[in-house]
Symmetry: C2
Subunit: 224 residues, 2 copies
DNA sequence: TAGATTGTTAATCGATTAACAATC
DNA sequence: TAGATTGTTAATCGATTAACAATC
């Protein structure tokens, strides 16, 4: 019978979900190696950098193609190039921030997004008072202009930095405007239609998951 | 032969990973229902709210115990109580922010963490100039005092808001100080020892995963 | 050749889901 | 009783991993 985890049909577009999640982790480690001047890496070394085991590294990389050399290892530069291409890391993915309040302003000024390849290309807000102001070199536009703004700046990722009450509306507008991914900082859970194939991360949910783990650790009691 | 997904041994502490990840999603939906005055919910209704299917809801909830009533559904209030207890949501989990730069300040002032049950209880920084300043009612302490600060304020979650170069050091200090979870905003990947059972989320990695999805969508080409 | 390391196989494990008996 | 819905089973699916043949 055919193996359950069969090879990919096409290179870009059919990686196992679990592999996709680990790719950026490998990527970071590889970039560090490249910066250190390392040119070759074994699955074992990369595994240690990424905090997984070597078999998983080899399996994951095999989905990208046979890019290693038996007895030698993988070429760091080539792998950076390949994974970078797959992650879309070579071309930056412009980000639009919805909400120019305290958090929105701070995220706009924060160079972390840009440094990660996600430059803040646009900021929108519903408040006419802040529309037109410049934050970190970007002029705040009105949220009603979102479809136009997203098209103009080719924004692929939307960041929701609104109060909780406005978050779902912001998400709906981002989806309608055509962004492909949403990172939600508002302290509420938002939903996206599941037919648009859009990826979403709720920070509040991440926090709750973190909360679970600290709680479980703290609670030694095993109640019934 | 025994089933692969067997019932839990003790109530708190042995839920399947995948269930834990969905629990906060159910929780949010249930809180909304409770606020609307709804007292009973079926697995089908909850599934729609959470964006999963009804079988998964029932399976997940069955790990918590038999809290439903056949032919009727689940008691919303009771479920909120149970899941809230498991997530540690009833008692807030104090957060310490490392780094009082632009992002650190903004996150400190942002009420989103507090609203999610993660009040900012402490802020530390390495720069003597900012130590002693007050941000959103919290006095910035020196990062060298982190172990004392974490103990005093019972911080369970650490948020890293430093420049990339300082992020790993911040994480190491947080781990040493005894926090249980770390949320890393710095534009770099950090590592934690895997023997401490600590939960970590790198925002940069989340962004890269988001990037992958938008990239894949954009690239219709199926190359070889 | 001998040593090293990949790429792949196949066993195992955990998660998902349809189906349905139990039961309110 | 009839209708509704849970809790559980068992089939299926995808992910993990040890092992090893291939091969540099």
């Amino acid at each position: 019978m055919a193996a359950r985890n069969d090879p990919p049909a096409d290179t870009a577009g059919s990686l196992p979900e679990a592999t996709v999640v680990r790719l950026p982790v490998y990527f970071r480690g590889l970039v560090e190696l490249a910066e250190d001047g390392t040119t070759t890496v074994s699955s074992q070394q990369l595994a240690e950098l990424a905090g997984v085991n070597a078999a998983k590294v080899r399996k994951d990389l095999s989905y990208l193609g046979s890019y290693g050399t038996r007895g030698v290892g993988y070429d760091v530069g080539f792998l950076v190039q390949q994974i970078g291409r797959i992650l879309g890391g070579s071309e930056p993915a412009p980000v639009v921030i919805v909400g120019a309040g305290n958090l929105g302003k701070a995220l706009s000024r924060y160079d972390g997004f840009g440094a990660s390849g996600f430059p803040v290309a646009a900021i929108v807000d519903a408040d006419p008072v802040v529309v037109g102001r410049r934050i970190a070199g970007v002029t705040v536009r009105h949220v009603d202009e979102l479809p136009k703004v997203v098209k103009e700046s080719c924004c692929l990722v939307g960041i929701v930095a609104t109060p909780a009450a406005a978050a779902q509306s912001a998400v709906d507008r981002l989806v309608a405007a055509g962004v492909r991914s949403i990172l939600n900082f508002a302290p509420t859970l938002v939903t996206v239609p599941d037919d648009v194939g859009l990826r979403k991360v709720d920070l509040a949910t991440e926090l709750h998951i973190l909360g679970y783990y600290e709680h479980r650790r703290g609670a030694t009691r095993a109640t019934g």
